[in-house]
């Protein structure tokens, strides 16, 4: 049972962080399909930063270094999406898809280069990141995640920045007419998504295992987060609950064989993996009429449009 709780917490935090990132981007009007790629790059740079820390560094220093490196890398990578879709009016989905493909390839090149061998597998110690509370193992990202959830809610709904950001995603021309810089707001939205996506990537890779093969990227976690965001209707707390729901099934897929009750059902890992995707399609089908998607998402901002 503790195992289930542990994995559910772990995946909840990952999916929530990345989905919140996606939310900021989409609320500002930019579809961020590149979340998967951002996670890969963030995770990779975070792991490398951790490995580059001197041997005697304190656990806190290692955590801070890895997390900030991941956040920074994610942000820089997201800037590529922002540049293409905001400055050059490129198709956001295509730009994002290209960045996803680039991320996996680039990660393998970097990981192999870092290893100096033909293997894209990086080994590391995750001790600085995990804490034991009796039988329950909790990782540092749980606390980061809760803080970011509360902060996201506050920023999005209680600050001027959040209001402006949301306005740009709903009706950028109207926002512009009252003096809001749409380009700047959209940049902020995408860069925040890069930061959260990067941290999410590290949170996905580090806590559970002590080596990661970058050949698999983050195995679709970014796309799952995209589903979490839609399931959560682009709202912070709903995203949290959606993340819990998705995480529960994802953890069951991992540990089904070690829990007698679940094992007796005879379901395979693939079936558990499938459920969140099917569930989100069903929910989407029933809620599509009153979808809360930002109205202007995916549309390049054209100052002259009426």
């Amino acid at each position: 049972m503790f195992l289930l709780l542990k994995y559910t917490l772990l995946y909840t935090v990952v999916l929530m962080l990345v989905a919140l990132g996606g939310m900021f981007s989409e609320r500002s009007g930019i579809i961020n399909i590149a979340l998967e790629g951002i996670m890969v790059i963030g995770g990779l740079i975070g792991v490398i930063a951790m490995k580059l820390m001197p041997a005697g560094a304190s656990p806190a220093a290692i955590v801070i270094a890895a997390v900030s490196a991941a956040a920074l890398a994610g942000m820089i990578y997201a800037a590529l999406l922002a540049f293409a879709s905001i400055n050059l009016n490129a198709d956001q989905t295509i730009g994002g898809t290209a960045l996803n493909m680039l991320a996996t390839a680039l990660a393998m090149v970097i990981a192999k280069g870092f290893n100096g061998s033909a293997s894209a597998k990086l080994d590391y110690s995750n001790r600085p990141f995990v804490y034991d509370f009796g039988p329950l193992t909790v990782n540092v990202f749980l606390f980061i995640g809760i803080a970011i959830l509360l902060l996201s809610y506050f920023v999005l709904y209680k600050t001027r920045l959040g209001l402006r950001l949301r306005a740009c995603g709903e009706h950028p021309q109207a926002a512009d007419s009252v003096g809001i810089n749409v380009y700047k707001m959209r940049y902020i939205g995408v860069l925040i998504s890069g930061v959260l996506g990067g941290i999410g990537g590290l949170a996905y890779i580090i806590p559970s295992v002590s080596s990661w093969n970058f050949e698999v990227g983050v195995s679709g976690a970014g796309f799952l987060a995209l589903a979490v965001m839609i399931f959560g209707q682009w709202k912070p707390f709903r995203i949290f609950f959606a993340a819990v729901f998705f995480a529960l099934f994802k953890s069951m897929a991992n540990i089904a064989s070690s829990i007698p009750f679940l094992e007796s059902l005879g379901w395979t890992q693939n079936m558990y993996n499938m459920i969140p995707f099917i569930a989100s399609m069903v929910i989407l089908a029933f809620t599509s009429k009153k979808s809360r998607a930002p109205k202007a998402e995916g549309v390049p901002y054209d100052k002259g449009a009426r």
Partner: protein, 388 residues
């Protein structure tokens, strides 16, 4: 006005010329950025052991050429799939999922049912079509973006196919020894796409010498793919049906007003796109380029996503897709020939991805070229012409 100038201005207004020029610019910049990446990793070898290997290897020997062709055939199909959807205003990011279920259809009919290859190909096509129709249905009747549905069904398809093919290790399709599906060469030779001498033609390791051993993965698949490209071109450009589909893509409301059934057309477009991707999987697995590995359940087949690259590079033109697929396949094979002492093969993927990133703003390149050709006088105020 002299003749020369009118020729240039004709070029400037030719959408086809501008598209080709923009794609070539993307390729050149992509390759240059690739050199930068190579130089960062190992500066001394960037040109001779890096770039030149990538852009020359494909032609070095018949075997390499054969590998390029074998990998290009399925890529042409997924490229056509994505391109067809683009032409009708839809983004088929689901090609990877349609390809996956198509692969299942082909392999099931081949290994379990031992059917002839064309029936297997048909099964791949049908399953791909079903998987493509789903996002179309969701788009037409529930107004859910096809990108979202397609992404979800990519993963649903992947997990489902893996589950059936593995069957807890007891599936009749799963070979415990290789941890992959059974090789058709042994398990179902009757279901392989005929080679018609292609395997021997591309068997040699040096030009001009006879085949050492046949390269079995080279079959008539490449010709099948080219025939499909021609069919798609004719349907899109020479038939009323294709015109209606494109009209929906340009402006759904106008098409509706003109009496075109837009809901039906959206579903049909996605169904056809899915069928094309399914055929791609059939061509790949029935040519035994590789076997399916149901245990690696974490990755969707790359050919599905590379189809997006092929379509974008060709500006969705079906005939152009043949060339862009050959090009992508060519540099991918080039990447595998890089000396592992200095570089890894994924550099070729980096270059492809960079080219696609650049393609995302090929419209900008197009307008630039147009501006340059037309000179300053007409270069301004062109606005956003052309299609996506």
């Amino acid at each position: 006005m002299d003749k020369n100038k009118s020729f240039i201005s004709r070029l400037a207004s030719s959408e086809g010329f501008l598209s080709v020029a923009a794609s070539l610019i993307c390729i050149v910049i992509g390759l240059l950025l690739g050199v930068v990446v190579l130089a960062i990793i190992e500066p001394a070898h960037a040109i001779n052991d890096g770039l030149l290997v990538i852009i020359q290897s494909g032609l070095k020997s018949p075997r390499n050429m054969g590998t390029v062709l074998a990998n290009a055939a399925p890529l042409i199909m997924t490229g056509l799939s994505v391109g067809f959807a683009f032409k009708t205003g839809l983004f088929n990011i689901g090609a990877a999922g349609q390809y996956t279920v198509g692969a299942f259809g082909a392999l099931y009919c081949a290994i379990v049912l031992q059917l002839p290859w064309y029936i297997c190909l048909l099964a791949a096509m049908l399953l791909g079509a079903v998987w493509g129709a789903i996002p179309g249905f969701f788009k037409a009747y529930l107004n859910i973006n096809e990108v979202i549905t397609a992404i979800m069904f990519n993963w649903i398809g992947l997990y489902m196919v893996n589950d059936i093919m593995y069957g807890k290790g007891a599936s009749p399709m799963y070979d415990l020894q290789t941890t992959k599906t059974f090789s058709l060469r042994k398990a179902a030779p009757g279901s392989m796409i005929p080679s018609m001498g292609m395997s021997d033609l591309f068997g040699g390791t040096k030009w001009g010498t006879a085949s050492v051993r046949p390269l079995e993965s080279v079959t008539i698949a490449i010709f099948i793919a080219i025939i499909f490209a021609i069919i798609v071109y004719v349907v899109l450009n020479k038939t009323t049906f294709g015109y209606e589909l494109k009209a929906c893509g340009f402006n759904k409301n106008a098409a509706q007003y003109a009496g075109i059934n837009d809901k039906r057309n959206i579903i049909l477009s996605m169904t056809i796109a899915g069928a094309l991707a399914g055929v791609g999987a059939g061509l790949y697995y029935l040519s035994t380029v590789a076997e399916w590995n149901p245990q690696v359940s974490t990755a969707l087949p790359a050919i599905g996503f590379n189809g997006i690259s092929a379509a974008l590079l060709a500006c969705s033109n079906p005939i152009g897709t043949v060339f862009s697929s050959l090009f992508i396949s060519y540099i991918t094979v080039g990447g595998t020939k890089l000396s592992t002492q200095y570089y890894t093969k994924e550099i070729a993927d980096v270059i492809t991805a960079l080219i696609i990133y650049l393609c995302a703003f090929s419209l900008l390149f197009k307008n630039r070229i147009r501006g340059l050709l037309q000179g300053k006088k007409r270069g301004v105020g062109i606005g956003k012409g052309g299609e996506a």
